[in-house]
Amino acid sequence: MSSLAFQDVVVRYDRHVAVQPFTDSVRPGEWLCLIGPNGAGKSSVLRAVAGLVGHEGTITVDGAPLAVRSPRRRAALVAYVPQSPLIPADMTGFDYVLLGRNPYIGYFGSESRHDRALVQDVLERLDLVRFADRRLGTLSGGEQQRLVIARAVAQEAPVLLLDEPTSALDIGHQQQALELVDRLRREHGLTVVSAMHDLTLAGVYADRLTLLHQGSVVAAGAAAEVLRAETLSEFYGVSVSVHHDPDGTVVVVPRRTAPLA
């Protein structure tokens, strides 16, 4: 299990500052969910951890800065599931998940027997064996998404980053994908940081929510503390009602602004 810490992390695109100094510490095995309107900087935080965009300040895994790691070493520590993965239509499911082993293979090397056995094991545990020989282009969006998560699992990184993992899925597959992540987190002690738009789901699965607005943290804490009607109204410009179920679930429901006829 690994911890992930941000110290004054700033992300810029040319002159535009996407993330203002961001400081947080994610405990080993914790699930932190970043929420906030479009352009709030959620994806930029994740991309900075994955090394896809430069940043100021330091991001550390188990106390060691990521920026000094080689790309392969970094990929062995942090797995990243992008918002819209590029799916090679004529690649088989097995070969796709096998790409997750790249951090452990030398530049000119090829996959070992161990890598193939591990991928086979991941496919079995995630109930994806039947897609091993299928071409990705013949699979549904939900099936593809589960293979993307499987690829991240095959990466065996202690930190898992998910950028809108459910935005392309129907409600059933959303639940399936998030249950899968939650199960993996418990079984492997993964530290998870996700960006999500569905506030109810974010509250259900994450231990802690951080609300970003224009690159700054404006609210943070448990779902019940962050998901409040007035807070959401202020930063999303939305009119919602928030219900608290007896089991502690916080349900966010949009309301019509025009009166019903």
Binding site: A50, G51, L52, S70, P71, R72, R73, R74, A75, A76, V78, A79, Y80, P82, P85, L86, I87, P88, D90, M91, T92, F94, D95, Y96, L99, G100, N102, P103, I105, Y107, F108, G109, S110, E111, R116, Q120, V129, A132, D133, Q155
Partner: protein, 326 residues
Amino acid sequence: MTAHADHRPRHRWWLLAALALLVGAAVLGAMVGPAGSISSTNWHIIWKIRLPRVVLAAIVGSMLSLAGASYQGVFRNPLVDPYLLGSAAGAGLGATLVFAYARSATLHWPVDPLPLAAFVGALVAVLVTYSVGVSFGGNSLTLVLAGVAVAALCTAVQQMVLLRNADVIDEVYSWISGRLSTATWADVRLVTPYVLVSSVILLLHRRQLDVLRVGDEEAASLGAEVKRVRLVVVIAATLGTAAVVSVSGLIGFVGIMVPHVVRLVFSASYRWVLPMSIVVGATFLILADVPGRVLEHGRETPIGVVTAFLGAPMFIVVLRSKRRLT
């Protein structure tokens, strides 16, 4: 044991079958020609004229196919051929300059400056493309756009030169259409070192090309060094392409079609696309070089014309049959 494990031996059988086909093509290529088939009297013809031609066809066909497949991989674009970054236009310009200004002056030189000029022209064009592309970000789109600009510039200069030297238009045009008819063992010796180095480097990158199939960003998140892979593959593919262009002129269509045929009937994984492209490309160009010799008596049909003439319908048939299967 598992479902995925069983198609690797099958792939090996395919590769062996393709190799057998290549040997058959080479034998056919050695036997057919205006002087008739093998007999003791024309062994000389076979050794001096037909065999170097068959070997050179194999080298050029395999190199163009391998370079085309590699370019398609690093640019993640199926419409790409090895001439993409301006190597064809650069080689064409280099050759045109020799035809227009240096033919009579270099008539008595011990080495023909034509291949050298084409080789240097191709390398310089790609070098310019690469430095321009990298200065605007270095992703695949800026590189391709820079390639388009450099190719347009080279072609414009070439046309200006041709307009002032209309007497060499025929020679330049024939060079651009590609030819293997003048192949000698000297040509084979000239290109072999470049083609070997280029092919080894490209084959060593076949797994990296599979990683790049998920896009620059995801490949980077998997620990791949995308820019380094792209740079090394482009340099190696350009070196090999420039070498074969210098001896055979511009033979089109092979570099784009062969990798596609391999992908469609065989496997889309680069660890198989690259070696199979070598074998299929060699076979295809040996075979394509045969009809040109006997089609019109006394005059050869340029190989570039034959490759497109045979290749295009063949490509359509493969596309059609594949669509029915899926």
